[in-house]
């Protein structure tokens, strides 16, 4: 069952892992890869995405390096990966709908899938479950975020 905490309209699914600083969620896949995406607070703060460049499949990234460049109407910035690894897939769905991450950040709006190369070490900074929810409550309060989704 999916357990979802909601705070200031921001959804924080408890089964996912988070790098709260980078504002990135991580889902552990059965085949040992990880899927990464923008969190609900991150998409809300960024605003309506008007363009996105995803790094290519096969590209090796170190923790903190940018896996994508995201442009909203008001801001441009990197999407940093919290885990080092090699990109095995990128979300081609953005080609037909740039608003995927604004509409469904934890589902159809995922950005990239990686095969991690230093998971044991780097995953220690990730939070999940109630610890993640608690960290996000603080961050949401501090940043005065109120989440809004673009209409599907």
């Amino acid at each position: 069952m999916r357990v979802m905490a909601v705070y200031n309209a921001c959804e924080i699914p408890e089964e996912l892992y988070y790098d709260v600083d980078y504002d990135v969620w991580v889902r552990l896949e059965e085949d040992g890869t990880v899927t990464l995406g923008m969190t609900d607070p991150a998409q809300a703060q960024c605003g309506r995405i008007v363009n996105i460049t995803l790094k290519g499949v096969g590209k090796a990234l170190r923790r903190g390096q940018s896996a994508a460049i995201i442009e909203s109407a008001k801001w441009v910035g990197p999407f940093p990966t919290p885990l080092s690894g090699v990109i095995v897939a990128v979300n081609e769905g953005f080609r037909s709908d740039l608003l995927l991450a604004n509409k469904d950040p934890y589902g159809a709006g995922w950005l990239i899938r990686l095969r991690p190369t230093n998971f044991a070490e780097e995953s220690k900074v990730l939070l999940t479950g109630s610890a993640a929810v608690e960290a996000y409550r603080k961050k949401i309060d501090q940043r005065k975020v109120h989440c809004i989704r673009c209409a599907g």
Partner: protein
């Protein structure tokens, strides 16, 4: 908190006017002070947004002939013609020293610009999220980016602006569209010179602006210089920004033929294949309504002046199929329009394409 370093970089080359704030951002270390740069480009050039496809958005052939460099920036938005008549105000701050929320960050950034214009007698105001306007006209653009370890916000003091060259450097699908872009820029973009009828002393305006920055940020400002290391990064970036690889780098996933004039005003051209021929619409949209429209194409319509009547009748309407259909039905009936293969449905479909690309 330590004072903010202010560096009046003065007049530099086009590429340096962009490289300098990127360099301060990339070179930022723990000990680097938050920095405000004032920069002017000695020569005119075209700056394009991070994700723009240079060949699709800019008339590169014209720019080459006219000797205008084209420089990609790591901040978003559209292509813009820049010259000596703007003073760029570039803020490069440590991540935690500007408001985390973009709305708040722009408020802090825009306040001193608005107050400076007000002080000069121009009734400018902040039009959230990031526009500055005077009676509905935009006076300069602003943008934000996360670069390296810093948060960057950029904008300008708009002393004057070359509306004509702005429209000239863009690649647009037709001269009709260029005319519409030009008219729209004339109508919706203003400057200090236009508002005051004269140009105030530049140094005085910069001084006013810096005083207002200190007040908006509640911090002290201290004149300073860039470090040697920062200049080194400026030179590295100048090289990168001048490379063909950087200029021709393909943009992101979205490409469109919409020119955004300001927050609420867009000019776009769409084509729709109807049974009776191609319909081409060049339109200006304001707050989701048709503000101005040209209909052309290779269809046949009688009486010939019905096209003008339709263009007139559709102005002011929202892009809602029912409203458009109703108004066009009235015209078709009143003028006994005959347009084989170009039904009201075809025109409605063409008009609704404008909504999709906005």
């Amino acid at each position: 908190m330590e004072p903010i370093r202010v560096v009046d970089v003065g007049e530099v080359s086009p590429v340096a006017s962009q490289a300098v704030y990127h360099a301060v951002a990339y070179a930022m270390e723990d000990a680097t002070p938050d920095t405000i740069l004032l920069v002017t480009s000695l020569k005119p050039y075209v700056s394009i947004g991070y994700h723009q496809d240079a060949e699709k958005e800019v008339d590169l052939e014209y720019c080459a002939q006219a000797g205008l460099p084209v420089v990609r920036r790591e901040v978003g938005g559209g292509a813009v013609y820049l010259d000596r008549n703007q003073v760029f105000c570039q803020w490069i701050f440590h991540r935690d020293r500007l408001p985390a929320r973009l709305e708040d960050r722009f408020s802090v950034y825009i306040q001193p610009l608005v107050e400076t214009y007000n002080q000069l007698g121009i009734p400018a105001y902040h039009r959230p999220i990031n526009d500055i306007q005077v009676s509905g006209r935009k006076i300069g653009g602003t943008g934000a980016a996360s670069i390296g370890r810093s948060e960057v916000v950029v904008g300008s003091l708009m002393f004057d602006f070359n509306h004509e060259l702005m429209a000239r450097v863009l690649r647009v699908p037709s001269e009709k569209m260029r005319d519409k872009v030009f008219q729209s820029i004339q109508e919706y973009i203003t400057t200090i010179k236009r508002e005051l009828g004269t140009l105030p002393d530049r140094e005085e305006v910069k001084g006013l602006y810096l005083q207002r920055c200190a007040r908006a940020l509640g911090r002290e400002l201290e004149p300073g210089e860039l470090t040697e290391r920062e200049w080194e990064v400026v030179r590295e970036l100048e090289e990168r920004f001048s490379s063909e690889e950087w200029l021709y780098q393909k943009g992101g996933l979205r490409q469109s033929q919409v020119v955004k004039i300001h927050a609420d005003v867009h000019v776009a051209e769409v084509t729709h294949k109807a049974p009776g021929g191609l319909i081409r619409l060049t339109a200006r949209l304001r707050e989701g309504r048709i503000d101005d429209l040209s209909i052309s194409g290779d269809f046949t319509i009688l009486p010939a002046w019905a096209v003008g009547a339709l263009e007139q009748a559709l102005r002011g309407l929202p892009l809602k199929p029912e409203a458009l259909h109703q108004r066009m039905s009235d015209i078709y009936r009143a003028l006994s329009v005959q347009a084989p293969g170009m039904s009201i449905e075809d025109l409605t479909q063409a008009l609704m394409l404008l909504e999709q690309i906005r």
